[in-house]
């Protein structure tokens, strides 16, 4: 009986404690800078080196490059860049290998869509996803 009473006391004590829940949809969750959210892509920084697509464990990144329009310059520029968020596991490896930090993580994590097709994000979408960017990409 004594143990039961102690338990009752513990729960009663907790009744007046500060509540710990987040008011989530109304207020954004406090997330650290390193949080791995949906990627932001900078097309102008990309040098089409393919490293992100190669390192991706789930092969969710597809990209194509094209010749630099300014024929005096060498190298390629990005033509299409798609991430399939049906299979992306947000593991952060693509941003880790990117030599120019053309792709970085954001704190944006809300990915729910009504159709799976909408989870296929293209270059434009990824470029416009520019809120809550990660400030420091490499430790």
């Amino acid at each position: 009986m004594f143990g039961l009473a102690k338990g009752l006391k513990y729960t009663l004590k907790n009744m007046t404690r500060k509540k710990l829940t987040y008011d989530y949809p109304n207020e954004p969750l406090p997330l650290p800078d390193r949080f791995r959210g949906i990627q932001k892509f900078y097309p102008e920084k990309c040098i089409v080196c393919n490293q992100c697509a190669n390192i991706c464990p789930t092969d969710c990144i597809t990209l194509t490059g094209k010749k630099h329009p300014d024929s005096s310059k060498r190298g390629k520029i990005i033509d299409t860049y798609d991430i399939n968020f049906e299979i992306c596991i947000l593991c952060d490896l693509c941003t880790e290998v990117c030599p120019t930090e053309a792709i970085i993580m954001t704190n944006q994590f809300e990915l729910a869509e009504y159709s799976r097709d909408e989870l296929f994000k293209d270059l434009v979408w990824l470029d416009e996803n520019d809120t809550q960017l990660r400030k420091e990409n490499k430790a």
Binding site: M1, F2, G3, L4, K6, G7, K9, Y10, T11, N14, L20, L31, P32, D33, R34, F35, R36, I55, C56, P57, I89, L90, C91, D92, L93, E96, M105, A139
Partner: protein, 366 residues
Amino acid sequence: MIRTEEMLLNVGPQHPSTHGVFRLVIKIDGEMIIDAKPVIGYLHRGTEKIAENLQYTQIIPYTDRLDYLAAMTNNYVLCHAVETMMELDIPERAEYLRIITMELGRIASHLVWWGTYLLDLGATSPFLYAFREREMIINLLNEISGGRLTFNYMRVGGVKWDAPDGWIEKVKAFIPYMREQLAGYGDLVTGNEIFLNRVKGIGQYTKEEAMDYSLSGANLRCTGLAWDLRKSEPYSIYDRFSFEICTADTGDAWGRYQVRIQEIEQSLRILEQAVEQFPETGEVMGKVPKVIKPPKGEAFVRIESPRGEIGCYIASEGKKEPYRLKFRRPSFYNLQILPKLLVGQNMANLIAILGAIDIVLGEVDG
């Protein structure tokens, strides 16, 4: 004599207390279990097959998803296996960060177990209290690794990130707080007579049986065998910390409960020492070749995860990808004893026994 009829009952795969998609086909006479047959594989994702086509760095995110309650130890066991093969040196600071994150993960994992076990036994509140503390740990780990559950934090040769400013202080502040809460847990549950009646003498086995069935972790230690790889075969820098192997001698669910609660305390002790000794400066990534290619050969390493002995076997051909990768998944081995324990028990004990084994289905199914 009343004529009774046996019936076959499917517990799971969608059942509130099977902790995932675990199915148990039991034959019951009234509420008494005559026979039990576990059916697993609903969460089999073929990690080992996938890994054969991936580079070592790419496998790390997959390990996060095995034992998703203690992803840090999974991260570590893979890195440890590769590092053992390549004989890499890990920088001091990285080792400490690994220990700290792993022990935090261990506490978080035990907290989830504690909460859900009590939930299985019908008490709703402990779950939420446990998650209050776990949330703090998750936030700490989120801050350092950028993930709340799937950390993808460790790398072959070190860790991905250094600790952010003030992080160590936060860990330091967390330790006394957690101690205080543990005392509260004791008040709420450990002395509760109803709870004690539910767990004492339930799912009992002897030391010999535990060894025979390849049980590990708290499931083995609850029989009185002091076996903890952190102490018995020290890896990383565990030999620098003083802590005890928690044991109980009852071999029942109550013993397992005690062992896990004590382990939280011991983990706090390790954390305390680790943050005290934490080197001021230093690298977090060792000298590692750009492309990780362990030499040809094979290696099997095992470390102590919250659920028991997690092992990693790598057969390498000297390529970027492992030829064969195999995880010794403690939950998978621990679950084997379940049918034996269930025979002759009733439905209510089924939950108490299954819960006490502490399985994570992501790990069981691999």
